[in-house]
Symmetry: C2
């Protein structure tokens, strides 16, 4: 069994880095805070006897050797970066649960047959740099290294330059290696486990995600003398598109999701109709057909609104992460661990994207969810119970030992 | 008669300061470009024999003495600041038409009984600092000097500090003095004169304007796992409010205006429902009852949307400039000048706010409009015909001479 108090204390110590007044964390990818968090993780891993490798995308691999040093490792991990108004658990829990597994084995002098690795993936959140999960995505071969290094934040700084700046642009190629099994522990970030009073979610896959930059082009003109019918107003087009699309998404299926996380008007002067408005749009559905339906609804509504308002609507797809099914054997390993431990549980599909999505392209993967209060995540008030976090970590330990062998 | 070529050349020389690649001007209030424009104006006025005063709000008064040095002056002027994507004529025309009147009198050795003054008012556009017309507003007593100096741009810089920085925080108190009459020449910024093929608009007043910051408060949560019905999504509230209010404004009256010039989402992360969205809203109507109707429609729609979406909607009124009627004698002076000169004309109410709104609180005022191409303003493509600008300036000359006496 792992040490729940040690796990909790480490979570709270990490949460001091980038702590916000409202009790959350702002430790966005490749900022000084992210560097501090990475440094702390690396120190803890070295103290627990691990060797550290950093790859060209800044992904950190902490390895605990196995009895068979050439055997493919069993890996676990997640991310240390947060949303700008993020919480203390999203990502961090998966990283520190991995560390706690290793600390537990060290403490009890347990040697595994296969090596174990705890991984910190770069820029999982997709908040500072789009898209999400880009560290694991480059590593797994979904994106090229050039693409990864070239991604820019809102102020034009690139991932490559920021990795360099914080000293985490490593030498190891960012590419997959043979892996026996991969697990990722995470808070659910949704309400299901809490509502159903289950402690563990055995995650069978991840729903599909499509990201868009939707640009509404208008004609700047004066707010006063210009008659309403002479205007090409991008905000009229934006509001009509959103109002209709929200309606269609909700009507289509309970499982469908639509989020408008960011909005920007240019030039942004109160008495001038904007030249353009850019909307950052996120659509999700667990089924490929469902996601395709939402994608087509967006196209259709945009055409209708363009027709009706005269504003030109440009849709650029920024990212497409299709639904993913995890590996049956890894799912079984998690399921058996939960049943042995006697925790209440259910199978579920993740609503959030995770590094496991890209890892699953090159290795057998599954995930372990624990509840979070009110299902709230991407919020400074994000919270999880120490007892649940401990149980999730026990499941992780058992599943990893199952695949690594003792 | 004024010299149309000299006027045009001066307009084109001023337009080089802050010129944009698309052929417009970005010479926002109290930037280095604004300073350069002011310096050029001051030099030109001194060369034309004027004395310069700068008041504490950075308003510049260029005085040409009259035969009766103590007589209240006849003043004219407008502003040199532009929108971020502004044109070459909005404001500048009124300033340089005033200078052209003085140059013409100098050239022909004409002495007026009352002194003449050309004024450059600070931050008329309201684009960099809200509200609009704040230089003339403080001068006329609508706002206190502290309020004026304390207004901040989006990066937190204040008018007071920026006046200091560009060397235009003058010593003269920003307060009214006895004025015989005030005129302001301006492009119409709307389509009426062009559509009706009239050259001069005799402006009888200015419609009412109300500015609001509308804040939609939501609860940040994760774009994936959070069910749509559990969300408090400020973008749902924003889009529904805009969609409905546009409908109501258009249905109410052809004269009503609604503009959403700026939008901002916080924290602005694509996979997080925003914590809040702030909308910069501009409502206008020529009649006080009409403006009040729009104001009440906003409150009512906001309440309905708040009820329906669960998002809290906060409405902060940023500015209220009620409809203004200009002085009958000044209107007559403009009207007689146009008739004497034989130019086609019509009476009209201004759709845009102008410094004359605040000047009219303490002095008899009217305005002279000339057409602009397609009625387009607050746009880099803003354009006006040299012949129209010349005719408007001739009207200004005659009206000023009428009130100042020769
Ligand atoms: N787990 C998590 O918050 N991932 C961010 C990527 C996403 O938007 O789902
Ligand atoms: N003339 C002009 O563009 N004024 C700006 C103030 C307004 O919004 O009407």
């Amino acid at each position: 069994r792992i040490d729940g108090t040690r796990l909790w204390d480490s979570l709270m110590e990490m949460a001091r880095i980038g702590a916000t007044p409202a009790g959350g964390c702002n430790r966005q990818a490749l900022t000084d805070e992210d560097r501090e968090g990475r440094d702390l993780f690396v120190r803890w891993c070295r103290e627990a006897g691990c060797e550290i490798r950093v790859d060209r995308m800044g992904n950190i691999f902490a390895r605990r050797p196995g009895l068979e040093s050439d055997a493919p490792p069993v890996i676990t991990g997640s991310h240390l970066d947060t949303q700008p108004t993020g919480g203390k658990f999203d990502g961090v829990y998966g990283v520190l649960a991995g560390l706690e597994v290793i600390r537990t084995l060290e403490q009890h002098g347990v040697q595994t047959r296969a090596p174990l690795e705890v991984v910190v993936w770069t820029n999982e959140e997709g908040a500072r740099f789009s898209p999400a999960m880009i560290g694991s995505g480059v590593w797994a071969g979904e994106f090229s290294l050039e693409y990864g290094h070239g991604r820019e934040d809102k102020s034009g700084r690139t991932i490559g330059a920021e990795l360099e700046r914080i000293g985490y642009r490593g030498e190891v190629p960012a590419e997959p290696f043979p892996i026996a099994a991969a697990f990722e522990a995470h808070i659910e970030q949704g309400p299901i486990l809490e509502k159903e009073e289950q402690v563990i979610g055995v995650v069978t896959g991840v729903q599909g995600i499509r990201w868009y930059d939707v640009t509404f082009h208008g004609t700047p003109c004066h707010a006063g003398p210009t008659p309403m019918e002479d205007r090409r107003d991008p905000v009229q087009a934006l509001s009509r598109l959103c109002e209709r699309l929200y309606g269609e998404v909700k009507a289509y299926s309970e499982e469908a999701r639509m989020t408008c996380g960011d909005l920007r008007a240019e030039p942004g002067s109160r008495n001038t109709v904007p030249e353009k408005v850019v909307l950052a749009l996120d659509l999700r559905h667990p089924e490929p057909e469902g996601l395709e339906h939402l994608h087509r609804a967006l196209q259709r509504v945009a055409e209708e609104v363009q027709e009706a308002t005269g504003s030109t609507i440009e849709i650029r797809e920024e990212w497409h992460s299709p639904p993913v099914a995890f590996d049956p054997q890894c799912i079984d390993a998690v399921n058996s661990a939960v049943e042995n431990l006697g925790y209440s549980h259910r199978k579920m599909v993740s609503g959030a994207g995770h590094d496991s999505v890209y890892v699953s392209r090159v290795a057998p993967v599954s995930m372990i969810f624990v509840p979070c209060a009110g299902g709230l995540s991407h919020n400074e008030a994000e919270s999880a119970e120490p007892g649940h976090l401990e149980k999730g970590c026990n499941v992780l330990l058992q599943a990893m030992l199952d695949r690594a062998g003792i």
